[in-house]
Symmetry: C2
Subunit: 496 residues, 2 copies
Amino acid sequence: MGKKWKKLMKNMDRQMALKTALTMLEYDMETEAPEEAHEYTSQMVGILNSMLQEEILRKDNGRLLDQLEKKELPEERRKMVHEMQKERRRMAAIPAKEYREFSALQAKASTIWARARENNDFSSFEPVLDRMLEMTKKMAGYRAEKGQKPYDVLLNDYEESFTMESLDPFFAMLKKEIVPLWKKLEPAVKSVDDSFLYAKCDIQGQKRFCDYLLDVLGFDRRRGVAGESAHPFTTSLHNHDVRITNHYYEDLPVSGIFSVIHETGHALYEMGIRDELTQTPLGGGTSCGMHECQSRFYENMIGRSEAFWIPIYGKLQEMCPEPFAEVERKEFIRAINKPKPELIRVESDEISYFLHILVRYELEKALFAGDLKVKDLPEAWNDRMEEYLGIRPKNDREGVLQDIHWAQGSFGYFPSYALGNAFAAQIYYTLRARYDVDGLLREGQLGVITEFLRENIHQYGGLKSSREILKDITGEDFDPSYYVRYLKEKFTGLYL
Amino acid sequence: MGKKWKKLMKNMDRQMALKTALTMLEYDMETEAPEEAHEYTSQMVGILNSMLQEEILRKDNGRLLDQLEKKELPEERRKMVHEMQKERRRMAAIPAKEYREFSALQAKASTIWARARENNDFSSFEPVLDRMLEMTKKMAGYRAEKGQKPYDVLLNDYEESFTMESLDPFFAMLKKEIVPLWKKLEPAVKSVDDSFLYAKCDIQGQKRFCDYLLDVLGFDRRRGVAGESAHPFTTSLHNHDVRITNHYYEDLPVSGIFSVIHETGHALYEMGIRDELTQTPLGGGTSCGMHECQSRFYENMIGRSEAFWIPIYGKLQEMCPEPFAEVERKEFIRAINKPKPELIRVESDEISYFLHILVRYELEKALFAGDLKVKDLPEAWNDRMEEYLGIRPKNDREGVLQDIHWAQGSFGYFPSYALGNAFAAQIYYTLRARYDVDGLLREGQLGVITEFLRENIHQYGGLKSSREILKDITGEDFDPSYYVRYLKEKFTGLYL
């Protein structure tokens, strides 16, 4: 028994070592690698990826997992076996030839998507997307249990135990509440001046302020690094090496500011995972939804609250006098929260963000149900945008081509963004019941809140599911009504 | 036949992919990784290393190499098989248990050495060094052919076909010529003022100038990156991703300047290797000696020549007015070449550099012959320094503890530094016979010289040995008398 476990751990170490190498190489390609490196380095990445696949599918690995799965194991070990088994089964279910085709398609599709977006030409992306959808559906079909729908298989990948059955009422309820809230806010916020958010702001000053924010947020520089890349992201080699990146725009300083808060939310999660779990399959955040919960909690509930800015707004004015020296803190808060129809998801406010996800969820469902053809996607996208947000994209670049997810075959991923927001709201109200959250923020005591999250979420890594975490923190099952309450209270308070 | 070759290439790709990952992780640990990452990342590096060892020792790999070695193959393939076979045999000759012990000792010894140097305490390093010497000797013994001495096995690792038989007369000849040259120069250079080299110089200005130098030297930024680390080094993922690092000292600006020239010499070599050879065992510089030949050619023959500075000295004065604005170019040249007794190898001038290597060569020989015990090493070191350079280290930090090489088990490495210098001098005179080298430099036409090196050295990677390269360029076998001639002409011209 101990011997089998030891053997499994040896296999696990090999898989983790290859994953660490792949994470490192990918991070480097996004940040430091010179322009011409990609083509050559990608070949090595491809080989390492197939070595990883081999390791996972090794016969002795499968045998060990099958045997250990049947034994009574301590909780932590049981979960590790479960995670490794899940990954192995996912891979094993797909014929090697198709898996290779899919990997090749992924690599190709991202490039074709990027070019199509650049040229605003959906038709050049259509055949690849069509094939991608077909393959994803087929591969999910291999993995489906009896009667399970392929789209549910994918939803479950990103957030365990969430399927259409639970997401449909979630989206329906939110749609019912948020579309009217949006209509009510729209006339009221028209007069809110946010022109200074689009004024020129010295990049060096932005960088200094974002660096200062890292300390405010409690980013541990001994186990983290902050760099730059084309699009901000977070990655982690293990809990003692977590990297975030940022991107600065001269005429949109809040982009860099809220990106650094968002990514630090992800980073604090990864840094807070227990040492015993790191470098194991439980050594990362438990799900996309819970990760997004952390990042958007810091970005929105903390980072866009007035209390958070009370002790630090002066620093922003000092480091970025142009344009903030003349802007009152209250004006700033109303500007950074101002809801307005925005065609691009990642630039949208908290309210329209949900509507963006709703559009994608409905379209994905229709695509998987066969009710919508890829060629009709742009039209369907634009119609929904017009219906929910009152704006219609003038071209596909600001419409259906804006996100990379589908090009990578990540169908079923978007809903986890909405779930993350809803998780965050539910946790937020528990926090407020226990602490004077605004009072802590006003006094620069964000650490107390982070400690709460570390204690109740971060440290567990993949040991608890999102649902278990919510239950343990709030005493309740997942309840999206908190999300509605949060949006209503916040935006009514700010603008009505 | 084609099938076997294909199989071998598949094995090779796996080895190269692991090596690429290891290079990447090591580079990252020296540059960007946060402080606490090392302990955790090192574990993954250890696993990747043993996976690489496994790949190399795989039975089918050995069988393929044995079969292909006997076939008539085109030159390039023959060389690849030769290199792979060499690496495999080196590994296979050593019992797995000893190899593991050696790897563990290497990791441990570097840390103990660093602490011993820090605390200036040779006695704490002595037992580890003793064991390291014993193991290195034993392991070289396993690999020795009949009658071959262990030290020759090691020398041959770093520079093929160079053993004590050829190195003894090389060192003897140079010793005979250089010790007297040194004695003659010493009184003459005493009055040369170089105090401004140790004056404060703004780090930002240094960085700007070093960045400018990259362009002067033809460093291709599309396939290279320049970063920072505690000690400057060069590394390469492949010929389209070559990285150099530098380190800046406020009170020693020439350190950063000559480091960037030195490392760019290494980088140009790696960048110049043919695309067909990169990501194969022939995809790096052919030997340590030839690599050092390139770096020291750029650093000394080019970088410390007056002609090189004619078009660019004004830029240095402009970017680093403090301390160079008031220094005449001629003074600068005499200062940067000034020979003076220096206890630390890496800070020493061109003449005493050779004497430093001589000391190490003689000591290594004595250690391997059993004529010297590790415990008597500090005394023996100091005696030789006094004899050759006229200065005696006051402590072991500036004596026997200064280099990391022995802690890593790299006995036999130092002579390749001296060989590199000698190769460079021999090539330099051929170049001068064909081109007006100083004229080209005065006109900023360094590219012509780099193109010559690329054409005759760089592009071949590991396809030709150092000896073959020298022969093809100069029409002669290796001849160290050019090195003596170079030193005599240069230093007599400058100071006598």
